[in-house]
Symmetry: C2
Subunit: 236 residues, 2 copies
């Protein structure tokens, strides 16, 4: 089989135009591998608020987030909750090699998933060095982000914390421009759980940023940031 021959294997139809194929996990796969994988995947849609995986439940498979935003959280026995991460397309969901979920995954917005059975995906990982490397890089980056957030949680003031989430979401939503407009995938309660604050404090700090002209808020969820650098300075 010549090198050119691999180009004659058609990309699965469902994968055309999928974010995961270009920037996600699937970009590490050859057309042949992608074709084999596609025959085992199942696409699902989920409304905002729907639980996608429950803490302590058995892991039945993995899933690429192909649209929307997923929030990952842990809860203490008495109900205190902490969001520990957000997943945007084309992130892969599911703790590799895990037996049970350590986290709850919930749709923050309407979400589209491309689900892959556990055994199929793990076999693919075992056989593909490129995929292993891709997953390794992904988890190292997630670790960097988790550690960054530890600084936010442990050492920033309420005001800096709120600026930090807005900045995080703004950066995911638009690139490069000084002025940024976006729709918040999180309500005030989720922001509070992400920041280790209460709803009231989040609301007050957003109001403060609004009065100071750092952000323009329309309809609670819609945010405009006239000067992203000004916001960055507020994030500490």
């Amino acid at each position: 089989m010549s090198v050119r021959d691999t180009e004659h294997v058609a990309i699965p139809l469902v994968c055309e135009g999928c974010a995961a194929r270009h920037d996600g996990i699937c970009s590490a796969l050859t057309p042949v591998e992608l074709l084999a994988l596609a025959s085992h995947t199942r696409h699902t849609r989920h409304d905002a608020g729907e639980a996608l995986a429950l803490e302590s439940s058995e892991i039945t498979g993995y899933a690429n987030v192909t649209g929307g935003v997923v929030k990952l959280s842990r809860v203490l026995q008495d109900g205190r909750q902490q969001l520990v991460g957000l997943q945007f397309a084309p992130d892969l969901m599911g703790r590799l090699y895990g037996r049970e979920n350590l986290l709850t995954a919930e749709a923050a917005s309407d979400v589209e998933l491309c689900r892959i059975p556990k055994a199929i995906f793990e076999a693919l990982v075992a056989s593909s060095s490129a995929l292993k490397l891709r997953l390794l890089n992904q988890s190292l980056q997630d670790l960097d982000e988790a550690r960054d957030w530890m600084v936010t949680l442990g050492r920033k003031t309420a005001s800096e914390k709120v600026a930090s989430v807005l900045l995080l979401i703004a950066q995911r939503s638009a690139r490069g421009n000084k002025r940024v407009t976006f729709e918040l995938p999180l309500g005030r309660a989720d922001m509070a759980d992400f920041l280790g604050l209460t709803i009231e404090t989040v609301s007050r700090q957003i109001s403060k940023l609004r009065h100071e002209g750092i952000v323009v808020v329309t309809n609670h969820r819609h945010i405009e940031v006239p000067d992203i650098e000004a916001l960055r300075r507020r994030a500490g």
Copy 2:
């Protein structure tokens, strides 16, 4: 070459009895790979408090922690500091494929390292699927731990936080027994930076745990936990 023949390759002398060879990164290597690697490693000793890597400095290599405890931290511009992790033997230090350090690494206790040049180690990773897998599992576990700690930082009270560090260190120091005795690798200032608290609050909470009989403190650094389950309950 028969299977038995690989056993005729001698394990490098320096690797005999090394923690990394049994439980660490090196356990994923064949004797041949280990031998090749050993010729490039350099063993170093460091006193408590010594900086091992500086935030924003160039990454020049990786290192196995072969003895002692290393603390990883980030600082904000104004000096506020947050510890984001501890590394015990036989953890691997250094952000794989990183160009500059995102964290400062400092010896918490006296530390022994087995240093490996960046290029040598990366070539080894590229060639060994078993090593890739091992590193992937390590970083996934670090991510789980970072997320656990996010819950501690974001949602626990000062009292629960202090119980949480003590529990973390107790679990690393001794296994299985109900009664545990250990030496703290961190002073009060480091504990405060790990927990997002002040020295005074850490000290007060330790005193409270002492008065309640949850811990016995001798010489500030030496801790006894009569009933590890009682401590676990305090950690939330």
